[in-house]
């Protein structure tokens, strides 16, 4: 409360406030003796420049806004905290901070962005869960407000984004299964309108084609990002006649893979031997599932890092190297897919 201002320091050192500012910020030559006197005075009084005043004068906030959609209780988002941590640390390295605001629905979220933009609460945004026709992207682009996005939107929109190459990841997963001897591989997909889901599905299709395996239409099951739907979808897969029944399942998320695991177990199958399962995200629990789940890990730290530094370059008007970046997920092989499979059909 009794905070000490630059004026107090100036008085204490017997100089003007300008001199104090110059000394403390090293922004101009100052005589050696004066410099020392100012430093001593500042130290003695425990002076630290008030950040609000500094921000006002610089017309910036050194704050980056980040909002996310709360995860429903029956789901889990395994990377939200890791992601937040990574952007916050990266930001701190550049002397920026993260302002976190969750937002319920899309409209509330959009108006939150607009409000914060107008009142100058943040210098830029980091978006996540970006999708086709994303209103936020439209709004920010048309306002020329700086932002970066974790996730792509429409192909022909030019803005700064980084995404995980889901197609490449699932392609690798498919190859892995094929190399283990699997011929009938199923895929649990997200709804049509999900961009991310779309790419992951595409990776599966590419992998099957590459291996010269025909895809039974029954093998592609829509299951939202829900455990229950995933469980039910697996039951449908297991109910297929033997020669059509898949011996491996790739799920679009670890939560869904968990549904597969449990459905298979309850159906009397031993995953890892009778059936292979692969998830996506490499959630912390993946390694503790029974059996331990093979999954695709996203390089969350790297993504956070690069998102932040790209945004900050943009804020400083520096040229951006790559305006769009695809990062490769890595397949973490565990017991759920580690046993070679010899077809018994």
């Amino acid at each position: 409360m009794p905070s000490v201002t630059i004026r107090d320091v100036a008085k204490e050192a017997g100089v003007s406030t300008a001199t104090v500012s110059y000394v403390l910020n090293d922004s101009r030559r100052v005589g050696g003796e004066t410099r020392e006197r100012v430093r001593q005075a500042a130290l003695r009084l425990g002076y630290r420049a008030n950040i609000t005043a500094r921000n006002l004068q610089a017309s910036e906030t050194r704050l980056i806004g980040y909002s996310w959609r709360p995860t429903p209780t029956e789901q889990f988002n395994p990377i939200v905290d890791k992601f937040l941590q990574s952007i916050a640390e990266a930001a701190a390295r550049h002397d920026y901070r993260i302002l976190a605001f969750p937002s319920m629905d899309v409209h509330q979220e959009l108006s939150a962005y607009e409000e914060m933009m107008l009142i100058g609460q943040v210098d830029g945004f980091i978006l996540t869960n970006t999708n086709f026709d994303d209103e936020r992207v439209l709004a920010l682009v048309s306002n020329h407000f700086p932002f970066v996005s974790f996730g792509r939107a429409n192909q022909d929109w030019d803005f700064l984004w980084i995404d995980v190459d889901g197609a490449a990841g699932v392609l690798e997963a498919t190859r892995h299964l094929v190399s283990q001897g699997h011929l009938r591989i199923a895929f649990l997909a997200w709804p049509e309108k999900s961009q991310t889901g779309h790419y992951r599905l595409q990776g599966y299709l590419n992998g099957m084609e590459e291996a010269g395996l025909a895809v039974d239409t029954e093998w592609i099951q829509l299951a939202g990002n829900f455990y229950e739907e995933s469980y039910a979808a697996t039951q449908r897969l297991l109910a297929l006649p033997l020669e059509h029944r898949p011996s491996a399942v790739i799920a679009s998320s670890d939560l869904m893979a968990l549904g597969v695991l449990n459905a298979a177990w309850n159906g009397g199958l031993e995953v890892g031997r009778d059936m292979a399962v692969i998830g996506f995200d490499d959630a912390p629990i993946a390694r503790y599932m029974r059996p331990a789940l093979t999954s695709l890990a996203q390089p969350v730290d790297k993504i956070g890092d690069q998102l932040v530094s790209t945004l900050i370059d943009e804020l400083n008007g520096q040229p951006i190297g790559e305006r769009q970046v695809l990062m490769q997920p890595t397949l973490v092989v565990r017991a759920s897919s580690a046993t070679p499979y010899s077809d018994r059909s």
Copy 2:
């Protein structure tokens, strides 16, 4: 960038900036006709008051600092994102925002707090993972800086905190097991120095005493908050001679309970029938474990809500109703402990 200021509005409406401020903030009577003119002008220009300037003048930031320790990859913290969401939403309702900064080690964290305090980056803090002799609490208290804590510290320190009554929770869990017919109940504890772990252990001891059951020293196993240690501890429990071997295990966290589940299964036991297991936190995955895990749910939303409103009351110099609050966890009974147990020893 070409942001419109209060001066622009004043000019547009042909009045002074003071009048504009009065109208827009409704902080003083203004003539009906003028009021309307100002409103129109503000609307026409799309004016929104700059928040940094407002904050400087009010010498506040309307920001609440929140820091957390990153969870190691082999662990998971099931409530960190839910908690963040709940405080951010509660804060938004009062027109405050959350500034999130993770911090690696204790010392870095402390200096981050001090720095932010001095430069006036936030109006107050929300602490988590508070523990005995917590340096942060000491520092903030001695600087008279406003903060609230999720978690207790030393008994005789007077500061604002809310905590979950771990003892009551585990007591309830113990009673539940006793009522299911269990006589030999084990407890997987956190290290000595953990305050939270201490209370949870105490709840177990109380429950056993209340039921008149002697506690075998082997039944209390220290296992950090780690899966592996928990798994190993369970193996030790299962290796006990039959008449000493516990038929139920309470773990101090869901992660640990998962270790128990897997160790029991690999040891040939069917949890839910041969053995009961209870966790703590009611993580999203608890319901999807095999078998579904009974666990103690923390009222995270309520806690976040009340932490924020208490802090804001403190910031506004309002009297605080309860300076210390214990909230009750609720036992969510699932398959892992739902089958009555008839002792066969």
